[in-house]
Structure formats: C-alpha cells, structure tokens
Amino acid sequence: MNKLFKKIIGFPQSESGESFLSSFSAILFGVAFGFILMLIFNPSEAFEGIGIILTGGFEAGRSSLGTVLVNSAPIIITGLSVGFAFKTGLFNIGATGQLTVGAFAAIFVGVNWTFLPGNLHWIVAVLAAILAGAIWGIIPGLLKAFLNVHEVVATIMLNYIAMYLVVLGVKETVFNSLRSESLSVHPNAAIPTFGLDKIFPDSSITGGLILAFIAVIIIYIILKKTTFGYQLKAVGFNRYAAQYAGINEKMNIVYSMAIAGALSGLAGAVVFLTQSGIHITTTYILLPQGFDGIAVALLGLSTPIGVLFAGIFFGYIKVGGFFLQRLAFEKEIISVIIASIIYFSALSAIFKKYVRKVFATKKNSDGGDE
C-alpha cells in the first residue's frame, strides 16, 4: 500500500513520469493555443469547437474511432522511423521519401503480381515496401558513413528524387491514365483487417494498425533489450565513446538508416494497400505522413511507446479538426488550429525542462556534475 502510494507520489519524478508529464503539458499548451485562436476567430463557438476537437475521435462513435486509427497507423510508423533514427543520432527528414518509394513498391506488387495467391499477395507487397524504403534509407546512410554527407541534406534531396521517380514509375507501370493516378491494388493485396472492421464498422480501417503495433514492439525490443540496440544508441549518444568501445560507427549509421527507411516504407504500404480508394496522384507533392512523423517523434520523445500514443493523438486531433467543420469556422482557420495544436505539442522536449523545474525541489536526476 505504502509502496503504491510512493509510486504515485514519485511518478512525476520518475524518468517515464517526467516524459509523460512533459508531453502532456505540451499537449495542453497546444490545445490552449488552439483554443485562443478559436476565441479570436469565432468566440461564440469556441467552447463548442474545443469540445469537438477534444471529443472528435468519438464524434461518430466507433466508425470515427476507426478513422482515427486509420490516420494514426502510418504516422505512428513514420514517427517510429524518425524517432529510431534520432535515438541513434541521426535526423531522418527523409521519412516522406522513403514512404513514397515504399508506397510505389507496394502498389506495383499489389497491382501487377496478381499471380500471388491469397494472403501471400499483400504480404509480398508489404515486404516490397519495406525493402524499397530500406534501400531509400541506406543511400543517405552510406553517404553519411563513407562520404560524410550530412543526412539531413541527403534525405531532403532524396525526398524530391523519390517524388519525381515515383510519379514517373506510376505513369510507366501502374497508371490509370484517365484519372491521372495509380491503379487500385488487387483486393488480395489490401492489408486484411484482422477483424478490426468488426470493432470499427463503417470505417476504412485496415490491418495497418496491427502492423504499426508490431513495429512498435519490435523497435522497443531492439532499442531496449538487444546488443544491437545498445550499440546503435551508444553511437547516437556519444559517437566518440562508441568509437572507443570499438563499435563500428559507419555500419551502425547504415543499419540505423536502413531500419528507419524500412519503417517509413512500411508506412507507405499501410497508406496505400487498402481498398478505400486512395491512390498516388501525379501531382508533385511530398506526402504529409512523412513530415507528420517528425512531429509525432518529437511529441513522443522518440521512444516507441511515446510515439505510439503521440501518433494516435495526432490522428485523433486530425479527425477532431475534420468534425470541427460542423461549426462555422473557415476551413483555413481549422487547418491553422490543428496545425498549431500538433506542432506546439511537438515541443514537448522543451516542457521536459519545466516539468523538471516544477518538481526540482525533490529531485534532480540529470544534468548534475557535468
């Protein structure tokens, strides 16, 4: 009993408690900011509006929860991608490019390889996406490791290269010329729902969420429990100490980027291996799920569990923003409100400092004798 009490009292000061509180205060801050914007633009409906944003995920019951999860799954995975790379000291801005090539590979297999029977079809399509994303991650990894090209520069450039190449690839191989978009994938290539459609009826839910969960668990295990994760993190925290310890930094960079890329590629499969009627269009735009991943990783403080919740939160807020259209808000203002909530929330690392301050009288676990 006493122990439990101590645990509760001590939670704000424990490592995970601190992270949770900082993310939570960041969210509160973001929501408060969004609320202020609403007060400015539509004071009479501001209260109702903030209510809709906060409950939007439940607005239409289980079907809208399904929509939340549909939108969360890919950004959880890209968030993992960015967060994982970040843990190992790399800033992967290239999630969107890796996602794009993954999406193309998935669609290519999904449309063309109809000789694959049943479940094998979607599995191969997902694997193809993972592989393509991994390759797209390995390139900047190699450039960084062996030519010392900064990964931020390389991944940004690769985003554009991916965008152009994929539009070209779509046109050449899986093109619906009338609609100027990619063809729909074969039903066998759509990721099955694993029964989720029963829980969330009337939504376009797919098994993507399950894949996101699996990815979270795998990354969690890699980072926390394995020697591989140990050495990756060592390089990320202190590359000189890692070098001293005999860890091959170059190979670690390549592995790390490969895994980050593979994750983003998987996210591409999750977005497009569905029968919801979504396609790669031939307009030259970078897919937003990759960039959302950066915000998700920031809010989730780069940890797999944090990213999982952050991704669901962002999906939730997006759906809330969609339902905010009920009220008289201009769509542009809704976009600004939602973007503010998301990006202010992403500043949770800053709040960590304050959380620590608030509880500082009792504890100072870090930043001591430095």
Binding site: T227, Y230, F237, A242, Q243
Partner: protein, 506 residues
C-alpha cells in the same frame, strides 16, 4: 567577523543518496577558502546550491549577512556570485568574446554591442595578465586558456565571490602556478574565493582556511597555515593516507607492446609525432612524461586506434596490430583509461550498468542470442561498485551523468581493470580523484605489473611519474627525448627534459 557567504545547515537529498548532510560553510571576505572531500563527498553539489543550480532540501544561505534564496544562476549573478564548473560550459564554435557575453548581451537597438564588449574584455585580460585574444575561437585555444575565459566571464559580470570547482585538474603544472597567482591577485582586490581541489599541496600553497566534507557530512574547518597535509588528508578520508606508493622491485619479462617509428602530422600539416619507438615489457610500468600537448595524446590515439592517420608499426607481442580495428585491439588484451572521460570514457546518457559493459556487451557473459542479460549486467556492476568503492545513489541504474566527477573516473578505471588486460594504457588515470582513490589506483597499477602485465602510463604530474613508474620516457614536441629511471632523476631534471632544454639517450 564579517562573512560574505554563509551556508548554514544545508542538506540536499538526491534519489537514493543524501549528498549534503547538515553542512555549514562560512566564507570570509578576501580569503581563499578550500573545500576538501573525497569523490562524491558533495562538494560540487554544495557549490551548485550556492550558485542556484539546485535547491537545498533544507538549510539557509546568507549573502553579506542577509538571508537569500538563490533560485537560479541569474540570481547568483545578481548577488555577484560566479562559478567555474568542474567541466567547462563554453560554446566551442563561438569566440572568446561571444562566450563571455553570452546571456548578458548588451544591445543597442537590437544589435549586439560587440565592440564595447571586446574593449571591456581586453581591458580585463590586460589587468590580470590573461593574454587572451577576444576574437579567438574556443575550439582553437588550450584548456588553460579556456579556463581563463571562464574566469573572465565571472569578472565581466562583476563577480565578487568566485567558486572554482577543481580548476587545476585539467591544467599543466605551469598553468596551475599561473592560476594560483591570478587567484591571489583577485583576493588582493577584495574578492573572495571558494576553491575545490583534491591536491593538498595547492590548498597549502594558496588558501587561508579549509573546510572538509566526508560522505556528505561536514567534518570541520581548519586554518591551513596551522595544519599539515597529512592532517587534512586524514580529516577527509577518516584514516591515515599513504602518499608513497609501496612497491617491490619489478621483474621485467617479455616485450608486450612495441611501437616502431611512429610519425604523424596533424590536419594543419604540423608534425605531432616524430619517429617514436619504444617497448613496454611485462612486469613494467612505463611512464610517458611531458608537458601537455607534446604529442602524448596523439601517441595514445595511434596505439589504441582512435586515430589511424599515422605511419609506423605497433605490435602486441609478435603480432602486428597497427591497423587492426579498435574492437580487435580491445580483444587482444589492451585496456585503455582514456584521457577525456566525457568524450571517450563514458556514454553519459547511459546508466552506470550500461557503461560498465561498453567493451564487453557482446560477450556471452552479458548477452544471449543478441539479447542483453540485465541480471548479469547488474551483478557485474554491483560487484565493481563494491570493489572500487564507487559512491553513487542508485546502483547500476544511476545515470552516468549524475555521478560526481571522481566517481565517473573510478567507474572507468574499474571497468578497464576488471577486463584484466595484458597491456593497460592509463592516461592520467587519477585526474580528479581524491587522495584515497589515487592511492587505490596506484596500488592497482602496481598489482597489474606484479602480475606480469605491462602498464603504459601517461601523466602530467611529476609526483605521480616519479612514484609509480619503473621507467620514464619524456616527450617533447612529438619526440622522445629521454629514457630514465626514477631513482636516477630529480623533479628538476625531469622538468628540464620536459621543457626541451635537455636531451638524453632514448
């Protein structure tokens, strides 16, 4: 008597440890007050409280007789309290001047008033003979100079009370004596100084009074003029301390490490190693002596593989290992206590347990099929904590960052000794350690050598060089200029070799 600072009955708790336990410290105006205590005794913590980095769990602080609360370093600045931290806090790609004004920028309509700042800095530098170029980049100046920048930072903010946390640990003997002069000069101007150091000689040389802490508790304050070094050491450790290293005659065996014709030029084309050749034999402690910056760092980097841009050959016994990977070298039996514990020695964001397996995480002892065996790691770490008397709050889960400087060093030493290497490369292994810990580490080095292992010691401290080593090589400007035995030389002779005024046979 008038005190400028009084810290009364200060207690500070960290999770799992009471770092300060009812400590009282009173600083008189114009004095140099030494703060002495073992590693982890709570010195840095106490000073961090005074500087507003931590809040005390209980106790009061008075500044010039008035009770105050120092909420943060800005408060401290306003009370004219300044601090030079154990590990400097400078921005490396900023200039000296930029670092000094950081946080106290004078602006003129939103633009930095750099010229005035530089004038003021230059004036200060001249007044104290600092010899500093305000426009130099921090990354380009020596550690000694960086410390002066830290001092200038305090002066620029008109500090009257100055805290120096182990300022001499990273300095050369010359720099140390210059720092002492500066401190004297400062007190003559009426400033008051708190000095933390483990070197009793320094305390003896400059300070007026000395307060002693032991395991967080306040032991007492003594008048330095009336107290001997031995007495102070005993107050601090709680027992008599041996300043002499006890060791028998060495039994020299086969050659363990041999280095042949090492040459290295640095990035700007300067020769930093010139034809360096030597051997370290089993049962021998060989010491490389020299003034900092004469190629010792580069020599060790070449041998250990941290830098591979050199020519020449390195052998362990008969096997050439010149360009083998670091992992490979580690596995052939090289232990390495690195010069910079924060850069190479530790991953500060890892906890102690994780740091203790830095070179052996892949060993079957600590992993099964690629999964870390946390139980084994914990057991191993706690074993080392006990054997090496590492003083920390939360066992293997203590974050390395939160450990006291000396305990961080002890942890590295523990890790390297425990691997029981055939060749131990120890670069300033006792830097920042208290006398008790130094004694312990010296004993360990001697034990290794008695077990027929080879020890290559790099040290800047003549005391250590003379008392621990079996043979001494002196380095000057990247060359070996002398090969002598401690019984044959005096400190004076060594000084002459080290400054390049004398050469011997190598």
């Amino acid at each position: 008597m008038e005190y400028v600072i009084e810290m009364l009955n200060i207690t500070k708790d960290f999770p799992g440890i009471r770092a300060n336990d009812n400590v009282t410290l009173q600083l008189k105006k114009g004095e140099i007050h030494a703060l002495l205590g073992e590693n982890g005794a709570g010195k840095s913590t106490l000073m961090s409280i005074l500087f507003g980095l931590y809040q005390p769990t209980s106790g009061t602080i008075k500044v010039r007789g008035e009770e105050v609360v120092v909420r943060n370093p800005n408060d401290a600045n306003e009370m004219q309290i300044g601090m030079v931290h154990q590990h400097f806090k400078l921005v490396h790609n900023f200039t000296v001047a930029e670092n000094i004004i950081l946080g106290k920028e004078d602006t003129n309509r939103g633009f930095l008033n750099m010229d005035d700042a530089i004038k003021k800095i230059t004036a200060l530098s001249e007044r104290y003979n600092f010899n500093i170029d305000a426009n130099a980049l921090i990354s380009d100046i020596s550690v000694g100079m960086q410390q002066r920048v830290e001092i200038l930072k305090m002066l620029y903010r008109d500090a009257e009370i100055m805290i120096f946390d182990e300022p001499t640990a990273v300095l050369t003997p010359q720099e140390i004596s210059e720092l002492m002069k500066i401190m004297k000069h400062l007190t003559e101007e009426g400033k008051s100084i708190i000095l933390i150091t483990h070197k009793l000689k320094e305390i003896k040389a400059v300070s007026n009074r000395c307060s002693v802490l032991r395991k967080g508790k306040y032991i007492g304050t003594v008048d330095v003029g009336k107290t001997s070094i031995e007495q102070m050491a005993e107050m601090m450790v709680g027992r008599k301390v041996l300043f002499e290293v006890e060791k028998g005659a060495s039994k020299i065996g086969e050659s363990i490490l041999s280095v042949k014709n090492l040459n290295m030029t640095n990035k700007v084309g300067k020769e930093v190693l010139r034809d360096v050749s030597f051997e370290v034999k089993a049962g021998e402690i060989l010491c490389i002596a020299g003034i900092e910056g004469n190629g010792q760092t580069q020599l060790i980097e070449a041998i250990t593989g941290l830098n591979s841009h050199f020519s020449g050959n390195v052998f362990i016994r008969e096997d050439e290992i010149t360009h083998k990977s670091i992992r490979n070298k580690t596995l052939t039996g090289i232990g390495h206590i690195p010069e910079d514990r924060h850069k190479h020695g530790l991953v500060l964001d890892y906890n102690l347990g994780e740091n203790m397996i830095l070179q052996s995480y892949f060993d079957n002892e600590f992993q099964n099929y690629g999964f870390l065996d946390f139980e084994a790691i914990s057991k191993h770490t706690n074993d080392l904590i006990e054997r090496f008397d590492i003083r920390i709050g939360r066992g293997e889960r203590t974050s390395a960052r939160s450990m006291s400087g000396g305990n961080q060093q002890k942890a590295i030493v523990a890790r390297e000794f425990d691997r029981n290497p055939d060749l131990m490369i120890a670069v300033q292994p006792t830097r920042g350690l208290d006398v008790g810990a130094i004694e312990y580490i010296h004993k360990q080095l001697v034990r290794l050598r008695d077990e027929n292992k080879a020890v290559l010691l790099v040290s800047l401290e003549l005391d250590e060089v003379l008392s621990v080593s079996d043979r001494i090589l002196v380095m000057y400007e990247g060359e070996l200029v002398a090969n002598v035995y401690p019984k044959d030389v005096t400190e004076n002779d060594l000084g002459l070799y080290m400054s390049g005024s004398k050469r011997g046979a190598v």
